[in-house]
Symmetry: C2
Subunit: 333 residues, 2 copies
Amino acid sequence: MATKRYTALVLPPDDRLADVCSPRCRKMLLEQFDAKWNTTGSDYDRDALSGMIHDAEVVLTSWGSPNIDESLLDRATKLKFVGHAAGTVKRLVPGSIFDRGIRVFSAAPRIAQSVAEYCLAVLLASMRRLTEFDSSVRRGDWKNTTGVGVELSGKSVGIVSASSTARGFIELLRPFKVQLLIYDPFLSEEEARRLGATKASLEQVMGCPVISVHAPTLPETEGMITKEHLRMIPDGAFLINSSRASVIDEAALITELKTGRFRAALDVYTKEPLPASSPLLSLENVLLTPHIAGHAVEGHQGLMEAVVSDILAAIEGRPTRYEVKKDVWQRIA
Amino acid sequence: MATKRYTALVLPPDDRLADVCSPRCRKMLLEQFDAKWNTTGSDYDRDALSGMIHDAEVVLTSWGSPNIDESLLDRATKLKFVGHAAGTVKRLVPGSIFDRGIRVFSAAPRIAQSVAEYCLAVLLASMRRLTEFDSSVRRGDWKNTTGVGVELSGKSVGIVSASSTARGFIELLRPFKVQLLIYDPFLSEEEARRLGATKASLEQVMGCPVISVHAPTLPETEGMITKEHLRMIPDGAFLINSSRASVIDEAALITELKTGRFRAALDVYTKEPLPASSPLLSLENVLLTPHIAGHAVEGHQGLMEAVVSDILAAIEGRPTRYEVKKDVWQRIA
């Protein structure tokens, strides 16, 4: 139990809050904080926030919340904790926020669990050709033209970037006893070992029969997977991108996929929604999903609780799990 | 290394053998056995087998091999091992075979691994609505009508029959930290605990948000899951049947699925191929696959190797993994 009730400004309006805040978390906010709810029916704009941020010791945000820029932070003299019930906090607050002694929390690792389940879902579905089999049965073709699926167990899996989504995915892969290769310049040998993986070059990862891309959007990752890398993908392989479209040269990917020599599952695209003119729409060796990797009911319902319970932990001096610290700011999504 | 080369009669013809016997297993047969191959281009009939079984110490079978009945066994005076590179051995040999001192091996547990991967594939694909999302993206609807998927982590999973496929599936579920309930009259409390599960009634299992049916075809399992059981399935639940169609009242299942209140993934049907008149073909809350749960490239390629390497283990007095013993005969598929 916190010894003092902190004043918490809850920025999401009721309808959005219903998506990201479980009843249990509402109760937690009511009991443990002096919570100020947004009852206006819509997101605050910057000016509205400017008028009320002065008293806030905790600010809780989600998708649609205004950015908390330097001048807002100048007014927020009591602010100690920012909790973001969504993914990236990089556009929400400036990197200088840490120098003001404010601690920042992001529910990204909670979303990562939904993404991890998504990655295994699309990988196994692609390996066992589920959408094709479902179609073939429905059109009366039974299994005559669909071919045979393959197993995941024992395969080599190449991971691009050891992000929190990758780590969640790696946990789900444990029982399959795969060989894990990770390309991530920030990953130490020791941490790779702890993950049961081997550090590898991007070229080695792209040579695996299963490749999963988890790279954040950074200047260094823009177009990182080039035409040449895509040519290294072995025939019969599976490529998953649940992270950012900009990481892969999409035009080159389409060219390579048109050969039909490997399969892909894509959740992100250079332009979303995917335009009707996209050649991806007519490719049978691709599983297409509409940027929903991180979106599952329980995942979203757990977002506010993840950051609120972690802020309580911070207040009580316990270890935190969702805190974003200054030293990782440069490399997170 | 075996001290004596046993004479092994390999019943599958070359083309079928290519599906179920890896090059490594062929090498094993050439080096460790006096192997007699079937070069006739088709499966032996009973008479052909009758003419050659006398010299066999090992008989290796697969789909299409003739049954080895009592009168064939009377002629097989040197027979010590039967290895079946396929699933059920119950129709292949009579239960009395054990009284002749012949040891029997089945690759069913190897197939179980393919089935286990299939079960997780269809479960996660159903939970995340992959076939619907793929369709909605392709028809230009993006994600507007498909709704939100759900997570597997932390859910209760009800298992009908602790068969080898169920056990494989349970292993793959480990990282999801689910609560496992198993209905299986043959399962001891101790074995349930070892599996990390709780013994439960069929009614309790049918009340879980995830239900996976793994029951063998036995007189006791025929129509075991009745209309009443199907009504116990909670709204929003997921039902998987990768075992036998006869276990579930299919007409009642169709009636219940038509309400749209839960989802199913079905691999087996009362009549296969599924007739064009089946109401299942037009239901959107069902993922349909054409009896391929046990069929994956690596799984099939590993079948003969599973039994041959296990027969070698038996010869050398090492523990066996694929042996079917007399005491389990009554309850296996």
